[in-house]
Symmetry: C2
Subunit: 392 residues, 2 copies
């Protein structure tokens, strides 16, 4: 059902965007997945294949002989054309029939999940259509893909919620493992075991999902947890973790504080940092609603840290979350060149974002990350904001 929902959305978006035709042109998608195809087709093909959605609602697949049955079984395409040696003639015949003014292709400078077309496949398509004028009608389908990806349907939101629920349970179990002497690597291995036992994938690359940081000497970023760094009293223990379950992802960060002998609360310096992190997340969340631009949300959260005298974070305040952990569409990010246009895409109802930032303290990293859904007039938390550190 989910892919039927997304295919129906795609047709509606062609009308909304006044685009005559959207074409995914792919091969060997098991090795080279195309995020657009994943969204509306949901199964792999081997040979060069074209999946065509037209504004009049027609959906046509041109695939190699051995993929015909597989594509038929998806129920998405009303017309499936198989071929053996060469698909060019069939492709031209379909385009002649549709006579599209524009042909939207899956490429984008900024949005990874709208950029499934390889450069070689682009050149091949140009070559196949060299005797026609269709190459002059190629346009980027990024606006369609961005909205298709980011406007989550109800069943997509349900799947994300399920992944968050599983992650919450694993986070609780993880917390029970934290005690002085345990290494980051051992803590991460515990999480990997839980992933395997539950049959879920990591939300991002296995070797650094989870990342675990014990105290101030832990390296930060996409780094596997370390064997030689161990839990000690007076440290923050930080985990960044998510699962991919039923094709949809979660992404959360949680923090524990390991009390020293006699401590009952956070030392004042750490308390101030903690409260600043929470205030920054709440400030960003309060701004998040349809029509806002991602950079505006990021700037507000960022300013809370800077105004309190802390170093600003070196990433976006929030990214889309869905089939991919870093999903497509709008970004709640700063106006840095490397983010391209994505911080300028207006937020819409149905978007799901992470809200995340961190402060580095003398006791280690306070990094909090929540997952939220944009509604008609604001946003709701799909995870429960961690207002206080968990104490060990």
């Amino acid at each position: 059902m989910l892919r039927q929902e997304k295919a129906a959305q795609a047709t509606a978006l062609l009308q909304e965007l006044d685009l005559d035709c959207w074409m995914c042109f792919v091969r060997e998608t098991g090795e080279h997945p195309d995020p657009g195809v994943d969204l509306v087709v949901g199964t792999a093909v081997s040979w060069n294949s074209a999946f065509i959605f037209a504004r009049d609602g027609s959906r046509i697949a041109i695939v190699g002989r051995y993929d015909v049955e597989n594509i038929r079984s998806t129920g998405i395409f009303e017309e499936i054309i198989g071929y053996d040696a060469d698909m060019s003639e069939q492709l031209i015949a379909v385009l002649d029939r549709l006579a599209p003014r524009q042909i939207g292709l899956n490429y984008s400078l900024d949005d990874t999940s709208a950029d499934g077309l390889t450069y070689g496949m682009f050149l091949l398509l140009q070559q196949m259509l060299a005797k026609t004028d269709y190459p002059s009608r190629f346009v980027s389908a990024e606006r369609l893909l961005s909205r298709l990806r980011a406007r989550k349907t109800a069943s997509e939101v349900e799947r994300i919620k399920e992944s968050i629920a599983i992650t919450n349970e694993i986070v609780d179990e993880f917390g029970a493992q934290i005690r002085p002497g345990v290494s980051e690597a051992e803590l991460a291995e515990f999480v990997h075991q839980r992933f395997k036992e539950r049959g879920v994938d990591s939300s991002w690359e296995w070797q650094y999902c989870p990342t675990v940081n014990c105290g101030p000497d832990s390296p930060v970023g996409h780094v596997p947890p370390q064997k030689h760094i161990r839990v000690e009293p007076g440290q923050f223990i930080h985990i960044d973790v998510g699962v991919r379950h039923n094709e949809y992802c979660s992404d959360l960060q949680r923090v524990w504080y390991v009390r020293r002998e006699g401590e009952t609360e956070l030392p004042a310096e750490l308390r101030r940092a903690w409260d600043t992190v929470i205030k920054a997340i709440e400030t960003g969340a309060a701004l998040l609603k349809p029509g806002v631009l991602g950079w505006e949300v990021d700037a507000a959260a960022r300013a809370v840290l800077v105004d309190a005298g802390y170093e600003e974070y070196h990433h976006a305040f929030g990214h889309s979350l869905g089939r991919a952990c870093h999903d497509g569409g709008p970004l709640l990010g700063p106006r840095w060149p490397r983010y391209g246009d994505s911080p300028y895409i207006p937020v819409e109802a149905g978007n799901v974002f992470t809200l995340e930032l961190e402060i580095f303290t003398s006791a280690g990293m306070i990094g909090i990350e929540e997952d939220v859904l944009v509604t008609e007039d604001g946003c709701v938390f799909l995870s429960e904001l961690q207002r206080e550190p968990f104490f060990v």
Copy 2:
């Protein structure tokens, strides 16, 4: 070690091909893997990243701040440059220092595993370098990637052998499950259970690895095994199966015959088809050696079927096998447009291929597939040619 071996091969290939520089330009490789990066880097990155190999042996990575440690830990790159907001300046500085006459990029019309660069990333790279003349030096790195991918090192061949050994064991266990009344879907589910118990992935997409075909009414191609098609006496039972273990793949097809009451051997019509399949595979294998073109090998095998009055197969006689089941480099395939240049790439020692074809009979499909390694003067079977059907 394997990636160090491949990185050393890459430098040697730059010299062999008189190419000054090879650059992989990628982002979010967890979602958008680039086969070139998988080969020599072996870990994922999030932000826009450049991995540069120069003919003088230098290896430089430009990656986002949070990927620096991760890339450092691979030990592949002597120089790792991190960035926050924009990588353009660092990239131009590196290119100015190397002053390459050509910059090889990962795109190819025909070779999927040499085509990791997306069209959006290509445009982004052009934009970043718009004020320089480096875009005019872009060339396809497909010859480098094809050879790098297809010239298997000793440790790559060992890994493929391990995957074949695991597959052989699962095939034996599968054979013990074949009895009248069992469905294709049940047989496939048995294999999936064995995959899970052994902790191996399917060599290609899970839902149709294995494919299982019982008798003549089974749909052929990339189709999940059917619940309503069951083993009956007088049928051929066919499996196409492979595992991905330790990052390398196997790919085998095996056939059983379920004897009818009183039968001790294959009926004559089926025997003739069987012998023709084996003869065709042996004919192709006898031609396979360094310097031969893939289409010549395919044509010889194909002619055996046609000369015996059978329908020719609608695919290539053999594909490269390695990190991907359909790996890059030369193809033992017909000169069809859809295969592009790949049947014209000379075979080299160290290449690993499948040899595969099938005949459809009144009792079902006889499809045999073996995995072979090209040596200095011929080829050796890494799997053991199935000369006779297994009998049930």
